[in-house]
């Protein structure tokens, strides 16, 4: 039998780390083609790129940019956690890695927020 939903199994930091990694990965996969398209405007010259940057120069886009940077940082730190679990010769509980991963993503988010408003 394939269990499709088990509330108790999901009330665990490991599941939340998985969920953050998965949701951030999907969001980045959707965002990346748009990001590449926008940067590709550089091919059409400075004016085209500047036009796009002017459109995105408002609070809503800034908030979106901040969210994407946090998602990128979270995907990075959760991914590094996975690589350490799979390849590092460590054993025992690894919940600390989840704390490091989330803390790292929040730290990057705060640094980017400071740079954005500074």
């Amino acid at each position: 039998m394939i269990r499709t939903s088990d509330y108790r199994a999901r009330m665990h930091p490991g599941y939340w780390a998985f969920a953050v990694h998965r949701v951030s990965g999907l969001a980045l996969a959707v965002f990346l083609p748009v990001h590449f398209w926008a940067l590709g405007l550089g091919l059409q010259g400075e004016a085209a790129l500047d036009g796009f940057l002017r459109v995105t120069d408002n609070a809503m886009f800034r908030l979106g940019e901040w969210g994407l940077v946090v998602l990128l940082a979270a995907h990075l730190t959760c991914g590094v956690r996975l690589l350490l679990i799979e390849f590092a010769p460590w054993s025992g509980p690894r919940k600390n890695l989840i704390a490091w991963a989330m803390g790292g993503a929040i730290a990057v988010g705060l640094a980017f927020a400071l740079a954005l408003i500074g």
Partner: protein, 136 residues
């Protein structure tokens, strides 16, 4: 054949002795796992550099002149971001295929087709963006 029957046929013990079918499916999954981990290792380094770069670059706002001033003719920048794009074009589609495979019963060809289209699109769009920033 219903989704349940397809699942049972794929996971039946006798199916695992065949050269085609689930055995090659497992081999393919192992290869995809390998490439996703290798690309993840490259991306981990690239993303750290990228995050540091964007935190530095957004201070005081972004202008096209400022961005292109840093990137035009900068082939070290171009080489770094070309590697970044290639790693993304390997990593993201495999991840998307895994998500499709795990959330739908029909793992396999349709997920790989979607992933391949995404990978080729990301590669072409990403490399042309890098070229545009460096050579325009």
């Amino acid at each position: 054949m219903s989704a349940k029957e397809r699942f049972q046929a794929r996971t039946a013990p006798e199916a695992w002795s065949a050269e085609s079918g689930p055995v090659s499916d497992v081999r393919r999954q192992a290869l995809l796992w390998y490439w996703q981990r290798v690309s993840a290792m490259v991306l981990a380094l690239c993303v750290v550099v990228h995050l540091a770069g964007i935190i530095y670059a957004v201070r005081g706002g972004l202008t096209a002149a400022e961005i292109l001033g840093r990137t035009r003719g900068n082939w070290a920048f171009g080489a770094f971001y070309a590697v970044f794009v290639v790693a993304c074009a390997i990593h993201a589609p495999i991840g998307v295929a895994n998500v499709i495979g795990e959330t739908t019963v029909g793992r396999g060809s349709s997920a790989l087709v979607i992933a391949s289209v995404l990978g080729v699109a990301m590669l072409l769009m990403g490399l042309s963006a890098v070229y545009g920033l460096v050579a325009s």
